[in-house]
Amino acid sequence: MNNKYIYILFHFIILILIQGLVLQYVGYENINLFIYPLFILLLPFDLPHGIIVLLGFITGISIDIFYDGYGIHSSTTVLMAFARPLILSIIEPRNGYEGNQKISIPALGLRWFSSYLAIFLFFHIFFYFTLEDLSLSWFSLARILVSFIFSFFIILLYQYLFNSRK
């Protein structure tokens, strides 16, 4: 039980550092790469909804401090953390989830995981860029798509490399 929370804290620190110290400098011109949404994505099923939203806020504010974002990442992450149960219910497998199941590729299958990741990440990036530009244009749509594709594969790769155990 305790072990689980230490693991969550550890994962939080790792993802914030990867995002803040590495991925921030990999983006080219107007492309941003995201890995930190994975933290909200992988939180256990049995956490209360309020706690997930609160953790979303903490994650977003930490990224904001690294990015000089002044609230833009936290607005996006809080919104996505709030929408997480909705996304989970949309793509629920036929036999449902088990209460203490871990969200990972081996536990729920690559197909389920990638559709979960794709929906979550796309809306995250979409809200982020819309809030940043405060308008929609072909240019911002192209940014959204390219950022989404690269972030998607980076997160899948990260999952395979470091998180594939059950």
Binding site: P48, I65, G71, L79, P85
Partner: protein, 279 residues
């Protein structure tokens, strides 16, 4: 009290969401408008500033950094002795007397420890802060050669953040060197190598390759610092002004050393301009 808080966290995701989302949106919109920002919420925050400091020490060849710092300090000292850093006090007497030059601008050297060009609103972090005499709203120029970088927005004891030229709210007063027409330089968020010069009326003659320099109208940058060259220009239908693309002289992606400009006569200049505005 504690029990009520726990109850909300456990059962009422919606309430927590509305509360936190309001806070985030409020921070975003309030901080984006004003010039001076909360240092705690930016990378001028001490912990993140230190992290950035460590990282830039690792990525830089350690021996070069020490040599570089001493050179930059020496350069800043020499640069503040140049005539264009002085305030010319001579009154048309034909000859320039030794004591007629006063110190007007002071330059403090600093290293860039965090930078971005990929976002719509970009910021830089410098390794100098209020302890070294850096104040908000002072200009930042590139060291060793011409080119401007941005404006300091928040400062704490050891670090400061700079609103890059590549920012939605960045406005720099600039003029064309050849004939002195002045306009406002801003950035449209697309190519980090191109900035846009606005408010030059279309009856003025300009040509491709004209040199754009700082005008010295605001006290952020000294006059005559080269910003870039005119890449292309066109008229928009129905507009009385040119729309000019300026190719920046520096690549904002790889700046390492900068000077922070401090105008020693800023207070005096603002005071006299204030009188005009009040009338």
């Amino acid at each position: 009290m504690n029990k009520i808080g726990l109850f909300f966290l456990r059962y009422n995701g919606l309430m927590v969401f509305i509360l936190l989302e309001t806070i985030s949106i409020y921070i975003y919109f309030s901080q984006n408008q004003t010039q001076e920002k909360t240092a705690f919420l930016s990378s001028a925050n001490r912990m993140v500033g230190n992290l950035y400091d460590y990282r830039s020490k690792w990525t830089r060849y350690w021996n070069l950094a020490a040599v570089n710092d001493s050179l930059a300090r020496e350069n800043a000292r020499l640069k503040s002795k140049l005539p264009n850093a002085m305030y010319d006090n001579s009154v048309k007497k034909g000859i320039l007397q030794q004591d007629s030059l006063f110190q007007r601008y002071q330059f403090t050297e600093a290293s860039v420890i965090n930078n971005s060009v990929a976002k719509r609103n970009n910021y830089l972090t410098l390794n100098k802060g209020s302890k070294h005499g850096i104040k908000p709203k002072s200009g930042v120029i590139n060291a060793y050669k011409d080119g401007i970088v941005g404006v300091v927005v928040s400062v704490n004891e050891h670090f400061s953040t700079v609103m890059s030229l590549l920012h939605e709210n960045s406005r720099v007063s600039a003029k064309i060197q050849r004939n002195g027409y002045f306009g406002i330089l801003s950035w449209n968020g697309k190519d980090p190598r191109l900035a846009q010069l606005e408010s030059i009326p279309r009856h003025f003659k300009i040509k491709k390759g004209d040199c754009i320099i700082t005008s010295g109208f605001s006290s952020m940058f000294p006059e005559g610092n080269v910003i870039g060259y005119i890449e292309s220009y066109r008229f928009d239908a129905g507009s009385n002004f040119y729309s000019i693309q300026v190719r920046l002289i520096i690549d904002l992606f790889n700046i390492q050393n900068v000077y922070v400009v401090d105008d020693l006569m800023k207070w005096e200049k603002e005071k006299i301009e204030q009188i005009q505005n009040n009338e």
